[in-house]
């Protein structure tokens, strides 16, 4: 677990910090208190859902509609967690409650990092590493979000813009690095192409459709290449 915590001093931690520093500014402009901002950072730990709930809180939306909006923004976490489970689990030994705790740290950044780095480790070491990594990154980003809320008035335009570009470029490179079979790379290309299409024509559930359609096409296409039609 300590090794995971040490590995947290890394590019993904820096990139997440940058993203949450940007969010702290938004939260303050929206009128959220410091305690509310930090509670969302620690409890939800998925930036798109946090941004959706921020909008809901500021517009006085009711509990149920806000919950549905946030749940729609978080569906993506389910297939991501599913794909991670066989990697972190030691069959017959790992308890479900350990996996439930670890699952809280599943968010795009930590997931990409885990898919890329965990397969190179011993099976027993993976879950402690992931929890150590996730816990350390969460704690660090939590503190930096609080500091940014208190200290950063407004970032210069170009700095803010450069911070926003960090995330997609980091995902682009490390998702390619995490690909283990051709199907992963084809799925990535399909997702890149379909994401904007579904965003324009089916906003709201666009990411889920991108994943299901793009992923299934990539799976079927590469399966036919591997095994023939039947």
């Amino acid at each position: 677990m300590a090794r995971g915590a040490r590995a947290a001093v890394s590019i993904p931690a820096f990139i997440l910090t940058a993203a949450f520093v940007g969010y702290a500014g938004l939260a303050r402009e929206t009128g959220l208190t410091l305690a509310e901002t930090l509670a969302m950072t620690g409890l939800i730990w998925a930036l798109p859902s946090i941004v959706v709930l921020t909008g809901a809180l500021s517009s006085g939306m009711g509990l149920i509609p806000a919950g549905i909006a946030v749940a729609l923004a978080s569906v993506r976490l389910m297939p991501m967690t599913m794909a991670l489970m066989p990697i972190v689990k030691v069959p017959g030994k790992t308890r479900t409650w350990q996996l439930l705790i670890a699952s809280h740290f599943v968010a795009v950044t930590a997931w990409v990092f885990a898919m890329k780095n965990l397969p190179d480790m011993t099976r027993e070491g993976r879950l402690p590493f992931f929890i150590g990594f996730g816990g350390a990154v969460t704690a660090f980003v939590f503190c930096m979000t609080g500091l940014a809320y208190l200290l950063v008035e407004r970032l210069p335009d170009m700095v803010a813009g450069a911070l926003v570009l960090l995330t997609p470029v980091y995902f682009l490179c490390s998702l390619w690095g995490a690909a283990r079979v051709n199907a992963d790379k084809v799925a990535m290309a399909a997702g890149l192409a379909l994401g904007p299409v579904f965003f324009v024509y089916l906003p709201g559930l666009d990411l889920l459709w991108t994943g299901l359609v793009g992923g299934t096409l990539a799976y079927l296409g590469t399966r036919i290449l591997r095994r023939g039609l039947f």
Partner: protein, 123 residues
């Protein structure tokens, strides 16, 4: 709305954060744990699930580049696409080192942005 009177109490935002935030998000992670627990590491089903998750994350990437939030939205689309392309090419060229790709993309973006600003200032 039945919640209208509750919006003014100090604790209502925290109920919102717990139920509409924490629960609405973590329930998907827990479902993923239970559904993923039965997957075999070498199974066909896992390859499909990985494809779906990978395509979904790739969708996040292209949305962030094509439709960015905030100030980055004011840069030309061609500049953002070129910066991402330069970053990814640098990543592939230099033994797939992520840091090289990220720095190359940022350098390209800032250089292009400064250049455009200077051009507009000169007109």
């Amino acid at each position: 709305m039945t919640d209208a009177g509750l919006g003014d109490t100090w604790w209502w935002p925290f109920v919102m954060i717990l139920v509409a935030g924490w629960l609405a998000t973590d329930v998907w992670r827990w479902l993923g744990v239970f559904a993923g627990g039965r997957l075999r590491e070498d199974g066909e089903l896992l390859i499909w699930v990985r494809c779906v998750a990978t395509a979904l994350v790739a969708g996040v990437i292209s949305k962030l580049i094509l439709f960015p939030q905030g100030i980055l939205a004011e840069t030309p689309l061609a500049l953002r696409l070129a910066a991402a392309g330069v970053g990814f090419s640098a990543f592939l060229l230099f033994k797939q080192r992520v840091i090289v790709g990220v720095l190359a993309a940022e350098a390209f973006l800032l250089a292009g942005w400064l250049g455009l600003t200077a051009l507009q200032g000169g007109l």
